[in-house]
Amino acid sequence: MVRVFMLFFALSLVTDAIASDSETTYKFYCAQCHGVNGDGTGPNVTADFATDPRNFTKKEDMAKLSDADIRSVILDGGPALSKSALMPPWSKTLTSEEVDGLVQVLRGFCNCQGAP
């Protein structure tokens, strides 16, 4: 019993570590446009910023995107989904695991599941 408990404890530490890493990744790369709280109001979004970055806290918009959509727009940038080129491509910057982690961070902001 104690062993099972220890196992769960160890596993929860691991998932916590991954979650906090993904938050660090989000804050470093994405918050400059999407905002620390995911509401699309990062410091780059000045009056002449042509297209508003996606507000990740809007459940109805985010629910329309599948996890695969989110992955491909992170990797290949806005044009991958016929969106603005102001959304940069990150395929040469982030690892596949980091992108998976970011999808989870975004799902945390919208508190929603994606379209299948």
Partner: protein, 219 residues
């Protein structure tokens, strides 16, 4: 040997030494003025994680001699105006300025020292500054550069704030460094908020956009 010959050769020797870059005393001044507290000057790049980058109090200077144009550097050290619009490593505080200032001989000597810090990761003579329509199209439309960098087009300054301002980048940056920074970024900054574009843009497009950035005039 005649006296005048001795005199002349002595004068020439003096003239030569005074014109020589004063790297050693520049290094001493750099250390003495506390610059090492915020800048490291020995490569290669040390940052491995986001935490490493966020722990830095100022940008690395180990390739300063390949990055900056000398006249800009010497002038900036005596009158340092903000380059980044936000405080270093911050997303919510403005850059309030107040960078340490150097005067007179110290500024020249520290410039000599910083200009001696070069890297062979930069190939000379590749990029000629040019406000090419192709470079402009990449910068403003095809790629997200303007989302993070201020720049000036037809006397109007616009663009994002998270990257260093590129207004006047032509006076500040060595055009060949810009190209090297785009095509081989991890040598200079293994961890940075700017995406890696190497492999996503053709080498030709990188040349165009580098030439365009290098053509940005000052205010």
């Amino acid at each position: 040997m005649r006296y005048w010959q001795v005199g002349l050769s002595l004068a020439m020797a003096l003239w030569c030494t005074s014109a020589l870059p004063d790297v050693a005393s520049g290094k001493a001044a750099f250390e003495g003025q506390g610059c090492t507290g915020c800048h490291y000057t020995e490569g290669p790049a040390r940052e491995k994680t986001i935490e490493d980058q966020l722990a830095k109090a100022g940008p690395e200077l180990w390739y300063a001699g390949s990055k900056f144009n000398r006249p800009w550097l010497e002038a900036w050290l005596t009158d340092p105006k903000p380059i980044r619009l936000l405080k270093y490593n911050s997303l919510d505080e403005k850059n309030a300025g107040g960078h340490p200032t150097l005067v007179g001989a110290d500024a020249t000597a520290v410039t000599d020292f910083l200009m001696s810090l070069t890297t062979d990761a930069v190939t000379a003579g590749v990029i000629k500054p040019k406000s090419h329509p192709k470079g402009k199209l990449i910068f403003k439309k095809k790629m997200p550069c303007s989302g993070c960098h201020q720049y000036e087009d037809r006397k109007k300054v616009s663009g994002g704030l998270s990257g260093p301002s590129l207004v006047g980048a032509g006076a500040r940056l060595n055009p060949d460094w810009i190209y090297a920074y785009l095509s081989n970024p991890t040598v200079f900054k293994p961890v940075r908020m700017m995406p890696v574009f190497a492999g996503l843009m053709s080498p030709k497009d990188m040349e165009f956009v580098s030439a365009y950035v290098a053509s940005f005039k000052g205010e």
